[in-house]
Symmetry: C2
Subunit: 236 residues, 2 copies
DNA sequence: TGATCTTTTGTACGATAGTACAAATCCCAT
DNA sequence: ATGGGATTTGTACTATCGTACAAAAGATCA
């Protein structure tokens, strides 16, 4: 029952289980679920393929455990930040704080795990794109509560915007967030090297700034009738 | 050389090749590249597995052909709409027209192919998330030009915003666009049925409205120094 | 030290993957 | 109608997949 000294962090494989989890997380997040084989994961972790089966039974079980590892801490941190944000007096500042509370834990570590939450968030993005069943189940039962809490909080600081619009815009926020983690190189490329898409701090600030403005946009109902539809040629 | 009468559209399989392309597009877009087997595609198209090899040589070749089919028409349509948008006098209207020119072809058909461009855009989103190599190559050489054209156009109608910020925000736009096509059900769910995430018209209007506001947000450089950083508890 | 439990290794099995290829079939111009 | 290219079918091959399982190795405590 006594833990070994854990030496430093230099210990190569203090825990094979953790090594496998980390390797799987990285590989899944960059290549998707189906493109990565159990053997790939084992090799990246310096483990034996059979060892993966021993610790996680199935490949799905491995993915499930990755989610279990992160969901709790990340949502906890989000709750803390959200609670703090709701106490901000100024309405504009509060909105920004809420958005930040949503975004920051997704980029930085939502837990004590090395590599930070960015990798896990990217993994979620990829699983979502692939329509992964395990992920879908977990998301619906774990993240929807959090999402509702944020949507409600945002709605409170923007009472004149219909909830429907808030939902759409928060959906866009998550999409933008995901995509920033999936292909950060595209930002670097399109900015011709002037911006670094992999810089979390920049991504966060840009995302928060843009999103706050998006939330503050006038509601669709009241905006539409006033403005004329901009010219769009009929399609062939 | 004479085309057959094509009867109506009721002709079951006027062209096996097209049927395979359509089936592959649908399956790839919903399940990702690796999760779908050539046999799955053949079955969905009512074809023989060998027929896929005959028409497209390899699975990669099939994906490549899907891209070839859509990229041209979609980018052409975007160019047309962008050109029209640039002629809009009012600056705010012009920005909206530009954004619309970017968004609309991604949702509606960018070509004469059935099912519309939404399916292809969703496919691009999924391939991007999976880090698919074939897709990566095509995107870099086909879509970057278009993206630059849009970024430049937007920059012209928002000269006071640094190009870097425009790049980030257009990146967010694409992420939001992708995500809306990947998991439209999430919108329906979070809005408790009040919104229909799969309704292209709603998605477009919401996305355009939100994005225009995001582009119009003050630049980061000038915004940051004025505002205090909202309270964010130090992390554990 | 020796017994017992945990973890790792090595290997094997059935299923399915992508692709190749020959035979069968279809289609149209002659 | 018929010859010949285009297409479709059926099948087979090899590689790799996820997973199971027995044996080896390591750890723990009386």
């Amino acid at each position: 029952m006594v833990r070994k000294p854990a030496s430093k962090e230099t210990a190569r494989k203090p825990n094979m289980r953790e090594a496998i989890l980390a390797a799987a997380e990285e590989l899944f997040a960059t290549n998707g679920f189906n493109a990565v084989s159990v053997r790939d994961i084992a090799q990246a972790a310096g483990a034996n393929p059979g060892s993966v089966t021993y610790h996680f039974k199935t490949k799905d079980g491995l993915l499930l455990e990755i989610y279990r590892r992160h969901c709790g801490p990340m949502n906890l941190r989000r709750s803390e930040l959200l609670a703090a944000a709701k106490r901000v007096r100024d309405l504009r500042d509060r909105l920004e704080a809420i958005v930040r509370a949503y975004v920051v834990p997704a980029f930085t570590s939502g837990s004590d795990l090395a590599g930070g939450g960015a990798r896990f968030t990217r993994l979620r993005a990829v699983m979502s794109a692939e329509g992964n069943d395990v992920a879908r189940r977990i998301i619906a039962q774990t993240f929807d509560d959090t999402s509702h809490a944020f949507i409600d909080a945002i709605h409170e600081s923007l009472p004149h915007i219909p909830r429907t619009d808030i939902v759409w815009r928060s959906h866009f926020l998550l999409g933008a967030l995901y995509y920033s983690l999936v292909t950060p190189d595209r930002v670097s490329r399109l900015s011709r090297g002037e911006a670094d898409g992999s810089d979390a701090a920049s991504a966060i600030e840009q995302l928060v700034q843009a999103t706050v403005a998006a939330f503050q946009a006038p509601a669709l109902d009241q905006a539409a009738p006033v403005r004329r539809r901009p010219a769009v040629p009929s399609k062939a």
